[in-house]
Every structure is written in C-alpha cells, then in structure tokens.
Symmetry: D2
Subunit: 427 residues, 4 copies
C-alpha cells in the first residue's frame, strides 16, 4: 500500500512558485510566437525595444539576481549576455545603449529561446527542492515575475508599433481585436465626497515600492465619468478643429502638435474619407463606441479642456476606484471590472478591453517613500521626474497587475501604450 | 484765496497707479543701465532673452492690452513692434520665434528706449485724469506691472548668463554681490504637525491665477531645515564624488550629468585648485557660508539623497512659511525675512541675499483652478506640465513678489535662475 | 533520326543573357545564405541597407523596367513592392525614406526569396524565346545585371558593418578572410611621363555613363607606388600620433577625428595592447603586410601628408593602369592583376584580396558627359557633387566591374567600403 | 638752404607699405561705420561672423604674426585677445568655437576700435624706419593685408545677412545698391579652342598659395556666355517650376530644396505678387537685367541643366578670361572689366556691380601645390575638400583681389556670398 506523500510547507511554496514561474515564462514566449524572426530585432523608435530583447532581458533578470546569487554551480549561458541584456541597471555594469538595441541581429531568436530554456531549467532545479530559501530569494523571484509581466505588456505595445508602422499593416493575429466592440451608453458620474482618504497599498500580496507608504490625502468633492471617453466623442474634438486650435493645448503640447503635424491619435489613418486605425488584428474602421486609445497626455488634457472638464488626480481616481469596489452590487468603475478582469482564454494573449487612464498627477514619491538599496532600488524611484501617472490597466495588462493602487507612468508625449481618457471635475 | 484742491477717489487711485507705474518702469531701465549696447542683443541659449527684448516686450504688453484697447487716439510707436515683441501669446498673432530673438540687432537699444518713453507718456495721459476706468483696466494694468517685475528678475538672470559666459567674466557692477556674505550657523529644523491645512492665496492684494482657489491639503508630520544649504555643505557633496555616483541621481539627472559633464553648480570654476564662481560683481572665491545657488532640480534632489533627506513639497513649504510668519518674535523662515524682504537702496538693484527653493512638487493646477479666457489666460495655465515648483524668492526678486503662496516654476534641468536647496524629511 | 537543332542568332543572344542572368541572380542569394533572418533586416547607419532590401530592390529593377514594360501579361508579385523597394528613383514614384528601411520587418526574407523566384521565372520566360527583343531591352537588362552586381558588393560591405558592429563579433563565414595574407615586399614606383593622354571608356562591352566621352587630359610627370599602403605602414602613422596631430589633416577631417574620437581605421580594436580587426572571417590580429583598408578619404589624405606625398588623381591612376596593362610581361598595377582578377571558386563569394583606392579627384562629369533621360538617367549624374573618386576594385568587387576606367565614388568620411591608399607624387 | 631729403630704397618700401597698411585698415573701419553697436555682435548662422569679430581678428593677425615676432618691446593690448580672436589656426593655441562667437558681447566695439588703434600705432612704428626688415616680414605683412581685404568682403556679406534677415529689413546705407541697374543685352559666347593651356599665377605681385604652380591643362573646345545670367532669365526657371522639378537637381541639391523649402534665391521675397529682394540699400523690386546673385551651387547647376548647358570648369574660365584680357579693344569677359574693375569712389565701399561665378570644378590642389609650414600654412590647403571653386570677383571684392587666377571657394549649399552664374558648353 502506497503511503501518502507529505509535502512540507517549504516544498509547497517552492512548487507554487514553480507553477507560476512556468506559467509566466511560457506566456512571454506565446506572445512572440506569431512573430517572424525579423520582427524580433528592430527598434523603430527609442521607446520600443526589440521583442527578442524583451525575451532575453527578462531572462537576464533571473540569471543575474537569482542564479548567480543563489546557485554556486550555475553555469552562465553565455558570458556576454549580461552585458547585452542589461537595461538600465547602472549598478550591474556596462550595458548596450538603449538606442542601439535594434542593431543587434545576433544572438538570433533561436539562441534567445535556448537561453530561456537554460535559465528556466536552472530555476526549476532551484525550486524543485524541499527546503526553503531565504525570504530575500522569494522576494527577488516575485519581483522577477512581476518584471516579466510588465515586459509582457511592453511586448504587445512594441510589436504593435513595429507592425503598425510597417507600410503593409500586417495583423499580429487576424483573430484578435485589441479593444473589443463596445455597446453604446451615455456617461454618468461617480461622486467622491470631500474628506481625508487613505492612499497607497495595504494588505497582503505583492506591490511595487512606489505604491507603499499608506498615507492620507485630502480630497475636495469631485466627480469622475463612469466610463471612458469613446472614439466617437473624441472624433467630435477632431472635427471641431481640436488639433488646429492652440487654446485647448498646453504650450508643450501645442509644440508637439506642430512638430508632429498631429491630427488624430496614433495609428489613425483617414482612408478615402473614413477613419481607420491599426489594431493588433490589422487595419479596421474606427469603432465609435470603443474607448479612445493611443492618445498622449497632451491630447487627453486638450480633450478635457475642450469639454470644459479636467483629468482626475491619481488620488481621486484611487478613491473612486476603492469606493466602487466596496459596493456589493456593481463592483466596477464604469463599464469594466477594473480589478476583476475577465479571465484570459487558455494559451492566448489576454485582451481585456480597456486602457490606461491618464491622471493629472505627476509621478512623484509618496511621503514615506524609501529608495531601496542596490540594483533593485533602481526600479522605480529614479524615474520620478517629468512623467505623469496612469491608473487602471489596459486590454493587455496582466490581470494581477490591475489593482487600485498600481501606479503606471509615462512621459506626456507618449502614445504607443494603450492610453485613454476619463474626465473629472471639482464640484 | 486759493481754494483747496480736492482729489476724488478715482483720481487718487489713478495717481497711485501712476506712481507705481513710473517706479516699476524706471527700475527696468536702471537694471539695463550698466550694460553696453552689445550686451542688450544676444541670446546665448534659448532660455535667455536679450535684455533689449525684455525692455521692449514689457512695453508691448501695455501698448497691446491697454493703449490699443482703451485709448482710441493712441498712435502705435511702430507698426512692426507688435510682431517683434510678442513673446508667446498665440492669441495676439504672429511672433518672432524665441530662438531667433538674439539675431535682431534692430531696432537698436536707443529706439527701444524711445518706445518705452512713448508708451510711458501715453500711459501717463491715461492715468492723469480724474475719472475712473473700468475695473478691467486696473486689472490689466496690475498684471502689466507684475509682468514687468517678473521680467526684471529675468533681466538679472539673463544678463548674468550673458556676462558670466563671456571668456572675460566682466562684472555687471563691481559694487554688488548677488548673494551677500553670510554668518555661519548650524542648521535647525522647523516642524510641521500632521493635519489639514489651507493652501493658496487669500486676502487682499494681487496674486497670480495659479495661486488662487484656496483649498485644503493633508500633511503628514514633517520638518524643514531652518536655513538654506550652504556652498560649504554642497562642496562636501562634490568632494564625496557626488557628480560621479549615479546612485544619488534621478535617471534623467544622471543623463544630464553625463551629457553636460557637470561637476559643480553653474558658474563654478576651479582655478588653480580653488573654487571660484561668477557673480554679478565678477569672479570671486566661493563663500562657504552663502547659500548654494544655480543648482537645478536634479542637483538639488541628488544632494538631498546624499544627505538621506528629501526636498519639501510646495505644500509643506507654504505651511511652514505661514506658521513662521505668524510668530511675533521670529517672523522668518530660517535666516531671512521671507515676505518682508529688506528695502532696496534707492535707485539700485534689489539684492536681498536669497534664492528660490526647489520643491518636490510638480507645477500643476490647484483643484479649483480656472483657465482665464483670452490672451491673459495664456499666462500660467498652459505651462502646467513638466516643470517643478519653486517657492520663496531670490536676491533679485522684486519684493512685492515674495509671498508665501507665490508659485514659481522651471524645468528640472534649469540652472540659470537663483535656485537653491532646503532639505526636509517626513517624521 | 534526330535533326540538328539550329539556334538563331537572336535565340543565342537570349540564351547567353539567360545564363548570365541566372548566374548573377543566384550569386546574390548565395551571398545572403550564411545570414540569419534577423541579419537581413537592420540598418545600423543610414549608408547601410538591410540585406533583405538589397535582394528585393535588385529584383524590383527587373520588374519595373523590364517586366512591366515588355511583358503585357506580367502579374505583379505584390502591388506594394514597387513602393517598398524603390531606392532613389524620383521618377518612379513614392519610396520609403532611406533612413526607415531598417524598420521594415515585413515582408519577411522568405517572401523576398519568393519574389525573386517569381521575377526570375518571368524573366526566364522572356529570354526563353527565339525572337530578338528591341535593343533597348538588352540595354536595360545589362544595366539591371550591372546594378545587381554593384549591390552584391554593397551586400558584403553592409553585412560586414552589421556583424562587425555587433558586440559578439560574429564571423560571416569562418572559412573566409576578406583580405588574404600578403607577402612583404618594399614599394617601388610606376612612372607616368608628362603628356596628353586619353581618358574614359573605349571599345566594346559595357560601361557606365560616367566613364563615357573619351577625352584628353594633360598630365605632368608623376609616379605612383607599385603596391598599396600596408597595415604595418599605416600603423607607423598611428604610433607617430597621426590621429592626435592636426597638421596632417584637412580641416573637415580634423573635425571628423575629434567628433568620432577616431584613433584607427574602422573595425580596428586594441585588445590587451594588440591591434585586432574585424574581418568577414571574424576578429583577427592585424596582418601587417596586408593593404590597409576601411580608411576614409580624410585618413588616406592625412597618411599621404604624413609621408610627404599625395594621393594620385583619377587620371594619373587610369593612365598608370593602362600603361601597365599594355606591357606583355607584367600586366598589373603593383601586386595584383587589376583587371584580370583571380577567378572565384565555384559558388563562393569572390574575395580577391584588394581594395578600392582613394584618388584626389572629385567625382564630376567628364567634358562630354550626357545626362540620360528618364529613371535610368538618375543612376550616376545626380550624385556628381561632394564625393571623391575611387579606382580599382576590391576583394569583393565582381570581377567584370574591375576595369581601368571604372569610376567608383563615396563621400570623404565613409569608411565602410573596402577602401585603401596608394601614394603618388609629382616629379 | 634746405638740403633735399634722400629716401633710401628700404625706407621707400617701408613707406609704401605703410601707406597701403593705413588705407586697408581704415577701409575696414569705414565698412563698419554705418552699423550700430548691436549690429556688430551677432552671428545669425555659423558661416556669418560678427562684424566686431572681423575687426578684431584681422588686427590679431598683425599682432600675432608681426608685432609679437618682430618687436621685442611690443605690449599686448590685452592678454586674452589672442584667445578670443584666433579663427582657425590650430597652431596658435586655444580659440573660441566658431559657433559661439556671436555671444561675445564684450569686449565692446569701442574696445575693438582701441585695439585697432593700438596695433596700428605699433605697426606704424615698425614701418617708420629706414632699415629694411627681413623678407619674411614683408611677406607676412602682405598676407596680413590680403587677409584683411578678404575679411572686408566677408564683412559686407555678413552684415548683409544680419540686416537682411531682420524683420525690419533695414538698409545698410540708403545710398548704395549692391548691384547696379544693368542695360539689357542678349548673351553671346566666348569660344575657347581645343589645346593645352597654362594655368595658375605667373609674374610679379602677390597671389595665394593655391594659385601657384603654373602648370598645363588640356581643354576641349568649348564656349562660355559673354555675360552673366540675369534675374529675368533666372525668373523663367522659377516660373517654369524649376524648384518643384527634381530632374534639374543634383540629389544633394534636391534634398536642400526640400529641407529649406527653397523657391528662389536668398533674399528674394514675393510681396503682393511681385518679386523683391533685399539689397544693401534696402528692399527693392528685382531688377530683371541685373545678374542673378545669392544662388548656391545647386541652384546654379540646376539652372544650367534647365537650359541644357553646364557651368564652366575653373580652367575654361581662366583661359577664356586670359584670352579676353589679351584683346586690345574690349579687354573684358562679357559685360564687365573683370581684372580692371572700376575705381571706388573716395572713402566709400567699392561696389563694382558683379558676382562670383560658380565653376564646375572642385577646390583641389594644383599638381605642384606645396603646403606651407606653420600657422600660415593653414590658410588654404586644409580647406581643399568638399568645396567648389568660384572665379571672378564680386561687387564687394577688393579690386586687387580680382585677377584671372584667383581661386575663391565655398561649399555648394552656400548662398550668402555674391554668387552668380555663367553658362558654358562643350562644342
């Protein structure tokens, strides 16, 4: 008679992490599967990294911070890779300048996939044992997984940029739409009362250091739209001459409009008098009821001014989001379930049908923010200048990254993320 | 027997404004008096405007918004000047691109002075009458005077840049020091208790639209240094390799250090092993006890990190300032009387001995901020992106511009203003 | 009994062209065969075109100028390719800007190979018939083949640049050396007597329009080195501080040195005190007896000045070359047979062991030069400004492009071609 | 009875030089006299130097190469001036970067004038003696005078650029026209027979090193227009869509057209449907019969192609010029006396009514060209790349600089010199 196998707590934790590790790692590869080798290598603008680079850099993270540190027998896959696939960690030595990533045709994609397999196997060996690792090990592992998930989102936006700027407009996958067709409905408002509210992450689970340091903010009474601004609404701005009238624009935004001769969101093309846009499923007619996306902060702010409103602060947004979440009946902010996103179909990209929302808050540290020491301390804090906070999550954001306190951030001129607009006003 | 001359309320108001108008206008000219004609014309970097241009542009303001609007008989001094001396008012038509201002050798300085005389005389005629003008007239007049005072400060910083980058390092005036020698004293702290505080302008008198909309903020307990960081303290940062160690710097700041090969604040030069700096009085040895100045936000932030501290938010600063101001005995924030600056000696530049203080707050609208319509609405609101707030005032700030609620703002890389550092920490 | 097949003159000409067409076209593909798909797509600097692009563009030439013009039944392979793969022919419509070629990941390499097959088959059908085509047809066909051969050379230099700037320095083929090891021998001189000489192409066979218009030039007596400058000789220039001494350099060249912090030819790297260079066979120690290559005009001119000599004019070079060629015993210019290069091994890249030679002549039209009309007229004439003539041919130049009258041309700052130095002096 | 004063040969030579020195030096100052101090200081594009700088730099030449070298008692006017007013002589130490010249408001114009007086007095003392100086002294003195004369021409073109780009279009002097009104006449041709001709300077008098080394060239028969292309003729090119049709342009020229949105020569403005141009006398209607000027090489070459002709080579030009000069009756090339220009009115700028003529020759060394050693060797040779030769002289060229062998040179995109067109063709 077979005796039952008892699994220790440590072993169980290791196995749970292994399962997640495996799932996260393989999803990255599934994102790249529809791409050609050629698609993996280019960098059409500085913000976009080659898909191959994303696959290697996320692997480099585990090799550098876990395998090199915790496995004395670990054999580097290739001695030059630590130089090639470092991104911006100044503390970990020399790196390829961001703007030159797109010229690195070697190592080829197949080597990168072998690199992933090599590191995955070594990681699996570490997790496949009964004893516990030090807590720091699990922390770094968690950061590595979160980091890889962030790069999964960037993979989508970067490959969209690569394909969407190709004169042939090839679809990433014919069977996907990045934002689903939406049912029209008028916009209502969510009201936030004047008062002092807690802000920042609390409770169990993972969060980034920029969400920590729960603290109080005072909010004046305000209200936020209960759904996102749609393409149809944004088209009214375009057709009212919004891109030709400086009055709606920040000075810096107006310079951007003129320099780029902007007339519509990124990926929009007027073809024979009709507006189309490039989606991951190819070139389509603009769906008037879907949320507008690929607008930068200047455009979001100009649109708000056109409507006589403004963007919400990140604090207003977080409080509104928390309040809605507490309601037993309609636990969502507008027309999506913001922190309960739809489950992704098996083995497929998760396309939730939503966009990151520009807030009017600059990306700055919270009052109790601590800079972490060492390389991981370079993760968030050093970017806290000249960027604006976005809240929510998008159709391509990994579901466990969608939470009320998550702070995304981009420079105000960036359009290539799935970014949209929710209006607010002080009442 | 002579009957007494009765002065009506309107007439008195007009006369008071005339006196102020005359004083403000003539002070601008006194700032330029030590300059050569050649000094008036160049623009060594895009941020710096030629002194001649400042003199003309401030005059253009009165001509465009008051004389053209309220005096049907007003004769333009020159039909092209409205085109030449518009700065950034998109609503008032074509303008010379900022970067080309420095090539306009004509009109010569003497014509600009005649232009000033022409407009002054016309303004005097408007103010030299017994009846009242519509309230809007006084409002624009007030804005025009405040505007000219802001340009007086820019005149000082711009001429300092022009002369301070000349290989001969000519003094602006041998008899001035921009920052006075200071008495050494150790730094203490001003404490702000946790609580909800009012922010923004209240009461009588002029303020800019960006200060308006009195509202509440919640502050966690914190403390601010009771004096500014000194050159001596900053030198410790330099000598500890502060400019060579990425760990102290924001990523954007570190790029700035490398691109500009920065090793010290603007105007600092190491001559035969000893640090000197250019002042309005010429090249001097660095005074270790004076407040450090001409540091940009990146430098201020890096210095704070070096000390394990941070910069105050603009709200912490304003509350600390208000609290100190209420005390009957020591009405100052640190070592200067911040909103009761020393009176300037007659007919001389006002050199108070102080610097603008970088805060960690981005320049953004207050909750109740209203964009004003028309050209005057372009004054502040359209710059509310990508800049940081500075509080206080500097040795060259007109004294009536120094108040606890005044919000100055510059991009984080700018050094040419008199900008300094006060450290803070959450407690 | 089988009757003999009689081949008409026309048919024979067609078949001869078909054989050459097939040989030239397949050689292009054999050049690309060692590359990964990723290698085919990038453009690490504006001068370098992606290998994929070369393969498509040479195909586009036959499709556009022959198939579209002479085959009424020809079906375009893809309607967008004429837009995608036009290079600089303004007369043939819209084209992708040169600097964006490197972002075109689609069509993938395999589609380009199918495009080549499609066009090859259609061309074969045209050549596979008994009747003659109009003379214009053969002329364009000839130009198309010459054009493809020019791109074969560019393919080698561009793929060398792509691989040689990769941090891993991957070999193109381990079994090739771009320049063979050479036997040391002292340099002698070839003398050209004063006199009037004919210049330009004469006789049968193909040449480019820039060689046409046989005409006279007067030469003063001069002499040219009878072999190329070697790496060892050039190293003496480096070690004598050649790159640190402005006296040797043209002003523009000195600016180039400082801007690029140049210290050696392109692809040279000092590794642990020893000079290496990247070759198509990988990173090797510098062979001191091989001709120096990958120097630009500034470097060639500076080296000549260092030696108290100068570069030859293109006329001196051509006359010296013709004179040597006429001699029955030693028909070569120095140490190579310049217009009778060694036959290439079967199915392999032709690597002759030689370099293009910078002359001191600017690339300008000959006295009887005629601009051809139409798109083919854009081939040469419009580049006749700001470039210098190179003569000879290199280790990767197709053998039928090596002739005494051939005029190659590049801007004086270009290093990525196989370019070298032969000294001259007036006597 | 007064005895006659005998003047030695040496003394006479010294006195003759003194007279010329005085005349040349004072003419420089007379050119600047109509300028305001502000006009003296700016540098609206990199090619243009501030007038003040020209005045100082020409003075620096005499101070550096004569007074410092030959006068042991000479006192420098100011120790920093050698640093401030060096132009491009790498051998004479540190210099202010060309692009920063326009920010040097100090020393002011009046100091520069005092500098000139100081150096003039010291030079006068050297020349005011009976003994001869070494020949080298006279040679450098001659170069210094020629150098200053070259800067006189640049002074005119630079001040034209400064004033002509001012939105007010101020006249330099109301009483001058840079090119005089011309009498219409049809263009004939000057024929040059096939043959071998001598090229380069021969005989007595001064010339630059780039004219030296008399040598032979072979010319094919050709003919040159006997007058310059007029504004009216050039207007036909404009009106025929010349600036919109790539077929006329060199590839580099077509890029220039598109980048600069060029539609006419520099200084041309269409005002209410009529073409005007800025002249030194202010804005005028275009005179259809005057020679077209302020065209760059691209424009000259495109115009020639439009007419089915070409530009002459510098050798054709020199031979045609010499042949015409030999004719006893009408010793001129076309409609001007090219090497016998009209005498200038006393104390006035010399405005001859003519333009420099673009040739199709690149600026390269003659066969026997020798690089001079030392700083004076940097004068010409180091610029022999990427520039085109111009021949003749312009309305503002000092008359003793107009000779058949003089080689002027500019980059093909430059328009700010008085440059024009004479067509040629091979016959």
């Amino acid at each position: 008679m077979a005796s039952p196998v008892l699994t220790s707590v440590s072993e169980k934790r290791n196995l749970q992490y292994l399962a997640r590790f495996t799932q996260v790692r393989s999803f990255t590869e599934s994102i790249c599967r529809p791409l050609t080798p050629e698609d993996h290598v280019v960098q059409p603008m500085a913000d976009v990294s080659p898909p191959k680079w994303h696959m290697a850099h996320t692997t480099w993270f585990f090799e550098t911070f876990l395998l090199n540190a915790y496995d004395p027998n670990y054999q580097l896959f290739h001695p030059d890779y630590s130089y090639l696939f470092n991104s911006y960690y100044e503390s970990v030595g020399k790196r390829v300048l961001r703007a030159h990533r797109g010229n690195m045709t070697r190592p080829p994609v197949e080597d990168i996939l072998r690199y992933r397999t090599h590191v995955n196997a070594a990681m699996q060996a570490l997790l496949d044992r009964e004893e516990a690792w030090p807590e720091r090990f699990y922390y770094i592992l968690e950061v590595g997984l979160q980091h890889e998930q962030q790069h999964q989102e960037l993979l989508f936006t970067d490959l969209k940029y690569i394909l969407g700027n190709n004169p042939l407009f090839p679809a990433y996958r014919e069977d996907v739409a990045d934002l689903p067709a939406a049912t029209p409905r008028p916009s209502g408002y969510l009201t936030v009362d004047e008062g002092v509210y807690p802000i920042g992450f609390a409770g169990e689970g993972f969060c980034f250091d920029n969400e920590l340091g729960r603290h109080q903010v005072y909010l004046h009474a305000c209200r936020l739209q209960d759904r996102l601004v749609t393409n149809g609404e944004y088209l009214e701005f375009i057709e009212a001459g919004g891109y030709q009238n400086f009055r709606y624009w920040l000075a810096e935004g107006w310079d951007w409009v003129k320099t780029h001769q902007a007339t519509a969101p990124l990926y929009w093309h007027q073809i024979e008098g009709e507006w189309h846009y490039y989606t991951l499923g190819g070139l389509k007619k603009v769906d008037l009821h879907s949320p507008v996306t690929h607008v930068n902060y200047y455009e979001a702010d100009a649109y708000a001014r056109f409507r006589g409103k403004r963007l919400p602060t990140e604090f207003e947004w977080e409080v509104a989001c928390q309040q809605q979440g507490k309601l037993p009946d309609a636990a969502n902010l507008g027309d999506r379930e913001i922190w309960h996103p739809a489950p992704a179909a098996e083995g497929q990209p998760q396309l939730y049908g939503d966009v990151w929302e520009w807030t009017s808050s600059a990306y700055l540290p919270y009052p109790y923010y601590q800079h972490e020491d060492g390389a991981l301390g370079e993760y968030n804090g050093k970017f806290m200048i000249s960027q604006m906070v976005l809240r929510g999550g998008s159709c391509i954001t990994p579901r466990d990254h969608i939470r009320p306190t998550y702070r995304n951030f981009f420079h105000p001129d960036k359009q290539w993320q799935f970014t949209g607009i929710r209006l607010a006003e002080t009442v």
